[in-house]
């Protein structure tokens, strides 16, 4: 099941792809579509995600510092945005909903 966007005043429909473990934890399958108000940034997308799925709080970024967990990465439009400020605007293609923001678990472990 894919999340169906709801209409919101001035909000943008942003596509988000979560890693399998977080989709399962939040009982989602496939891509999510989140309504993001104001500038479309990683921080605002995650705010919208955690508002809708509180169980994901603390799994992508720290509860308090909001720092990205070390083995979580942010990709979009074939770029690694992990080290950018989470308050930077995301690429226009993400803000328009043409491309998704990908939350990725780094390849590591056994």
């Amino acid at each position: 099941m894919t999340d169906v966007p709801t209409s919101g005043g001035g909000a943008r429909a942003v596509r988000l792809v979560l890693p399998a473990h977080l989709r399962k934890l939040s009982r989602q399958s496939g891509e999510l579509v989140l309504q993001v108000a104001g500038p479309v940034t990683i921080a605002r997308v995650l705010d919208a995600l955690e508002e809708r799925h509180p169980v994901l709080r603390g799994t992508i970024r720290d509860h308090v510092t909001r720092k990205r967990r070390p083995f979580v990465r942010f990709f979009a439009c074939e770029q690694d945005l992990s080290h950018d400020s989470t308050d930077d605007p995301l690429p226009d293609a993400v803000a328009r909903g043409d491309e998704p923001l990908l939350v990725v678990g780094a390849m590591a472990g056994g």
Partner: protein, 371 residues
């Protein structure tokens, strides 16, 4: 007919093993939370169908799961463990000061009487409590703040608070153990704490008799004699008869006194079980022979228990939280191995059989005795 429910945490998920009182035929359910490390799963004595699971991942951090139907279905609850006030620092491996950072929950200890109250022992070492069924967690910061906290150092597995004993008689008394700081006791419900390590001797630290710095692996207690404590230290099996104020070594004739778990028979307070390993640099059974050792005299005199356990080519470890006992008339003893086997002895250790042989490495094991 009464039965048992064995709660197994592994490197790749949780498993629930159930049997009737004969403990011969087992139903194996799982993995729950497949792919995640499950450090500990434990049921509430006050409401046995309420079970807590610590679900952790190097990628996605800590999740706390709660079941209210005996482990059939689960709901995530609160996972925010924020240290009280300014966290401060502890010692790092290189001797520098290192900020306290939450990594994971190693152990849950549910209240004896209140299903909504549960304690969590975490890495970096601290004790948290929830009084609202796991929605929110609050640190009992008197433990870290009692004075020695800045001098604590991590063991090889991290600086973890891995043992929590809630005194079954004195509700104000709590024991905890931390690797590698030692054992601590509160007599006021967790508000204030003191180290209880007098008598421990650890050659691996600069002052072998230091007040803190000992690598305590596990402490066990019999519910009818809460002042008697048994400890498996990194090396040495120890005993206290005064609630931890003083300790004496009871390793006796054990072939080696290095190991992780220790537990007490449900009906015989002087019957104790350990799983000796060859050494701290090898961490497997001597000669590839898996032997549980039992003392019926509260220590000092030990006998090997081997019937049904592999006696050759066995090179597994048994971790500190991976042994438990049931309370059936014929007390059952259980343990899980890093090789993925879970063994049961339905006769107090005389004979053993494998319940499962091929689980992921077992991190923890608890057992509930059901009516």
């Amino acid at each position: 007919m009464s039965g048992v429910r064995v709660l197994v945490g592994t490197r790749k998920g949780a498993f629930v093993l159930t049997a009737d009182g004969k403990r011969e035929r087992w139903d194996v359910a799982g993995p729950h939370f497949g792919g995640w490390e499950i450090y500990h799963v434990k049921g509430s004595p006050a409401a046995p169908d309420r079970i807590w699971a610590s679900q952790t991942s190097g990628w996605f951090g800590q999740v706390v799961q709660r079941s209210d139907d005996g482990g059939k279905t689960w709901e995530p609850v609160g996972n925010q463990f924020t240290y009280d006030g300014v966290p401060g620092t502890h010692q790092w491996y290189d001797g520098t000061a290192h900020p306290w950072e939450f990594a994971r929950v190693w152990h849950f200890e549910p209240s004896h009487g209140d299903p909504d109250t549960v304690y969590a022992g975490v890495e970096d070492a601290a004790l948290f409590r929830s009084n609202d069924g796991g929605s929110t967690w609050h640190e009992l910061s008197g433990l870290r703040g009692h004075g020695s906290g800045p001098h604590w150092q991590p063991g090889a597995g991290g600086m973890c608070l891995h043992t929590i004993l809630l005194d079954p008689v004195n509700a104000q008394r709590i024991f905890v153990a931390i690797s590698a700081a030692g054992a601590f006791r509160s007599d006021d419900g967790g508000a204030t704490w003191k180290p209880i390590n007098r008598g421990l001797r650890s050659e691996g630290i600069p002052d072998p008799n230091a007040e803190v710095g000992h690598c305590v692996h596990r402490i066990a207690q019999h519910r009818t004699r809460p002042d008697v404590l048994f400890m498996q230290k990194h090396w040495d099996v120890m005993r206290s008869d005064d609630g931890g104020d003083t300790w004496r070594e009871v390793s006796g004739n054990l072939p080696t006194d290095f190991g992780f778990p220790i537990d007490v028979h449900a009906h015989e307070p002087e019957t104790v079980y350990v799983v000796p390993l060859k050494s701290d640099s090898e961490r497997y059974p001597s000669d590839g022979s898996l032997r549980v050792y039992r003392s019926r005299s509260g220590g000092d005199e030990w006998e090997p228990l081997t019937k049904g356990l592999p006696q050759r080519d066995c090179w597994v470890n048994v971790l500190r939280d991976a042994m438990a006992v049931d309370t059936l008339d014929d007390c059952g003893i259980y343990f899980g191995t890093t090789g993925g086997q879970v063994y049961v002895s339905p006769d107090g250790g005389d004979t053993w059989r494998a319940i499962v042989q091929t689980l992921p490495p077992v991190l923890s094991l608890e057992v509930q005795t059901l009516p």
